[in-house]
């Protein structure tokens, strides 16, 4: 084997991917050729440098749980991806959610009135978005298109989740003005209904209980978490809207 052939097959030899006969020939050539031997040592050094010193990124521990939870759970019949199917985990979550809500509603029964004005603003925002045929400024079902769209338009970056597989496809996002400040409005669909999710930052990082409201035929769900206020509004039934809201909270709990 000459120098040219050796150089051509060197990487295969390094990776132990060539047959024994040629491997022996290469070894023989390397013994007698200082130039090829130098190149081969350099390749070997490169290889061990990468293997020993380049970062290996292991998956964060919580990711496995998040994936397990996101996988569709199969019941007796095959899953139809276009139909929202309530898996047992989702069901358990919404049950837990319902308990929290009941408790929250009881606790905050008296304090609820202070949010009255805000509730009206939220409903107005929702109705306006449907009336003016102006649901979304950025119409995309891709969370990685919607999230960056808010860059430079808001002084915060809202978390945008794609819940298509759970039956709530992302439709888009837009800017709205609520509570005397610009807010992020994310629009989701569910069958023929629309859901507006309003998000804005709060001064306090305190986590609030989840509250539900019904007004003018609209259902609202509201909570605060990690310094953000969340308002969900839709003409969807309360139970389905709760399922939606619990999905929004799941990633945080999985982490």
């Amino acid at each position: 084997m000459n120098c040219n052939e050796t150089r051509n097959l060197m990487h295969g030899h390094l990776d132990k991917e060539i047959d024994l006969v040629r491997a022996v020939e290469i070894e023989k050539h390397l013994e007698g050729c200082a130039a090829c031997n130098a190149v081969y040592s350099q390749e070997t050094a490169m290889r061990s440098a990468i293997r020993e010193r380049v970062s290996y990124y292991a998956a964060p521990q919580w990711l496995e749980a998040r994936i397990r939870a996101a996988l569709p759970k199969q019941g007796k019949k095959a899953i139809d991806y276009r139909q929202p199917s309530l898996n047992w985990l989702g069901f358990a979550a919404s049950m837990a959610f319902a308990v929290v809500i009941t408790w929250g509603v009881a606790l905050h029964f008296n304090a609820a009135s202070e949010d009255e004005l805000l509730t009206e603003e939220i409903i107005s925002g929702h109705v306006r978005s449907l009336m003016a045929d102006h649901l979304a400024d950025v119409a995309s079902s891709d969370q990685h298109t919607v999230k960056p769209w808010f860059n430079g338009k808001l002084d915060f970056s809202p978390e945008v989740l794609d819940l298509t597989t759970q039956g709530f496809p992302l439709i888009g996002g837009r800017l709205d003005y609520i509570n005397n400040r610009p807010v992020a409005a994310l629009v989701y669909g569910h069958r023929k209904h629309f859901i507006n999710l309003f998000i804005w930052p709060e001064e306090s990082r305190e986590k609030s209980l989840v509250r539900t409201k019904t007004k003018q035929g609209y259902n609202l769900i509201h909570w605060k978490d990690s310094g953000m206020a969340f308002w969900v509004v839709s003409d969807l039934q309360e139970k389905e809207l709760m399922q939606f809201a619990s999905l929004l909270q799941q990633p945080a709990t999985a982490q």
Binding site: E17, Y57, A70
Partner: protein
Amino acid sequence: MADKNRRFEEIALPHLSSAYNLARWLTRNDHDAEDMVQEAYLRAFKFFDSFRGDDGRAWLLAIVRNTCYTWLKQNRVQELHDSFDEEEHAEADSGSDPQTLMLQNADKRLLDLALETLSLEFREILIMRELEDLSYKEIATVAGIPLGTVMSRLARARKMLRDSLERVMQEK
């Protein structure tokens, strides 16, 4: 059948770190890598019925790679155009001693940086070969390239990494 979930989890979940490592090197940040891996697993589950082979890792990594490429196409299209021409760059290695010395002195941070600045096709093939220890056959499956191309692309990638390392060490 719930059996499908169990089988899928048994085949796919053990390779979570391989999946994440590849996605992390392709997207170059944690958050996007997390999203990519989750989306890839959902896709993999959807197409699990068509999985016939015995190499679950290569099958999964191919889906991870496709998911990342689709996303890159939509979000960072310039990275995909940052391509190479194998013919144009074909040249012999010098094999000089200073390069070996340089390698010995390169610390982890510089090596990472040199690899990060490599174009996608070189970066991914080095990750697959050196960090995941995939065979040429598996690399061909994951990257969707002919088996015969794997060795030459690896040779190019190693050469490119050396050049890249030289650059980042000069800029240091």
